[in-house]
Amino acid sequence: METGLDLQRTFVQALEGFGLMPGVAQTLWMPLPMVIILVGATLWALVATWLERKVSAAAQQRIGPEYAGPLGVLIPVADVVKLLIKETIRPAKADPWLFSLGPVVVVLPVLLAYLIVPFGQHLVVTDLAVGVFLWVSISSVAPIGLLMAGYGSNNKYSLLGGLRAAAQSISYEVPLALAVLAIAMMSNSLSTVDIVNQQAGYGILGWNVWRQPVGFLIFWIAALAECERLPFDLPEAEEELVAGYQTEYSGVGFMLFYAGSYLNLVLSCLLVAVLYLGGWEAPIPVEVFVTGLGLSVTDPLVEVITAAIGITMTLLKAYLLLFTAILLRWTVPRVRIDQLLDLGWKFLLPVALVNLLVTAALKLSFPQVFGG
């Protein structure tokens, strides 16, 4: 495996060159990727909201936001500003703690999960050995926040919404984890970087989606359900529960929910890209071009370009998936709660189990292809 661009090493080495102690240099480095990923994630979520508006408008023969910036790109900014300066209203009999903490508990785990999203060999905040597992476990914290918000609002719609969120999240956590397990089994690792590396080398043909088509679909459906996207957006089902758990929220609290849902969506798309669509790998391996042009892979310029391509590729794949999710949202009706649970427990779970078994069998039979 090639090392690629390693900003951390370069950064630390440069600081050490200025005469700093290695420990201090490390400490100085630490917050940088976090801040960058935080800003990046927020930005991507904003882009996602803009895309949602534009794609839905296009699918409905409308124009969508037009006058706030070119093509209305400043609309998310306007949204944020509006929601920030809007009055925060707390219902008189709401539980102040639960009501205020709810949105925070929803957003934090999502942001935390961005830790493990890799954009290149070393372009990841932390390359944890438990990578995907961390995400699976952390993302199940969010429903607690939803439940808190729903229960704390002292509103029956909110309560129903919160309960639905909890039920839905629990049911789809399982097939999601099983789908991830199949991937982990093939990659012999839970680390997202390893998973991508395992798919590398053959371009588009090496991606996990070919080896795990069923797993891919299960993961995609379950991820949509986890994000409460439209076929599965029961917790905030507008027509039934007004706005579900966020009925009573305004201003910042509402913004946190809103941001949380889009952050989560972008995260899910990124993870699908990482787990199934080869992460930062281009459809045709970059090395082919590099060696074809007679350049060295370790050339600094090539390294920078490769890293840039990697980031672009990851985001491109993620946004392609995001587009699909948005289009799907504006095409299909919503399922009912019992149908949702049926789908989760009676369809996805058995299929995921079978998928896992088949993967294990294939792994034993064809260790070369399925990661022996």
Partner: protein, 393 residues
Amino acid sequence: MTLIETRTEPMVINMGPHHPSMHGVLRLIVTLDGENVIDCEPVLGYLHRSMEKIAENRTVVQYLPYVTRWDYLATMFTEAITVNAPEKLADVAVPRRARYIRVIMLELSRIASHLLWLGPFLADVGAQTPFFYIFREREMVYDLFEAATGMRMMHNYFRVGGVAADLPYGWVDKCEDFCTYFLPKVDEYEKLITNNPIFRKRVQGVGTLSREDAINWGMSGPMLRASGVNWDLRRVDHYEVYDDFDWAVQWHTDGDCFARYLVRIGEMRESCKIIQQALKGLPGGPYENLEAKRMGGGPKSEWNTFDYQFTGKKSAPNFKIPKGEHYVRVEAPKGELGIYVLGDDSPFPWRWKIRPPGFINLQVLPQLVRGMKVADIMAILGSIDVIMGEVDR
């Protein structure tokens, strides 16, 4: 193994009068056991304006602008019935051309109403996009209405003995254009909606109303026809000129929300066919406003005979409703829209009872939602197609 007995208190939840999917100002007091509906009680009256009392103090001419506010999505029908009631009581003859124009307008209005049923119905089960598509076509219907009547919704177009004005130049051409444009669009809706597995699961077998129940509860319109009764007042009563056209009554036997969907989709197609035939057979020149032909033909030409006028005789502002009583009805998109009128030879009716289809159809709602899920309330309510303007009047 013994089951642990859990006892939960039923939750009473108040949906409406301002709830996103209550179609205006309907209020439902729903008793829930978790996600299951135990009971539901509709509360009406938030839009009550006592239209019947108003009618008792208005001449027909004065009252006509009010009636489009009953069912504000199928406005032509309310006007038609308001005009029909005194017209038939006074035995006023209507020229054939006026009847054709009425039929065209009524069917356009039926399309508009069904379109604005389809969108919210799909929105009620969670799909927002058809809402925008139907508005595209509905705007066209309303553009046609605006050109002919002067307003998009509150037309005030029907008159005792005919219609207020003849069709404007080029209107027939554009209406035909609309028909040819609209039929493929219905196919497109069907492609988007009908076979969608999620939609099917949400509406099939939901809100099933048996034939006996439907009759006993006095259902009418698509509600009745979806429950397996071949009953369409256009066929039963032979009013206006519907017998001149070749069209089929849409009916299904399943009685569930999906059957109602199919009936309404089918009715849009049939309405479109009726319009096309009516435009072809429009008496007095296939296409244009007849004034030019009348002038060209001179005072004794056939163009000046009764059948080729758009209004038999312009009714006086103090048109007297003769003594007598009767019950007239039309097949409105929502069902049987009836008026019981009791005249006593004065400009004002003594009694003007409105039988709104939505009001009668809505009362079966608690029956249908009992034992269903919360989300089914919306699907069933959507499939009933209520407009609170006519329910509360």
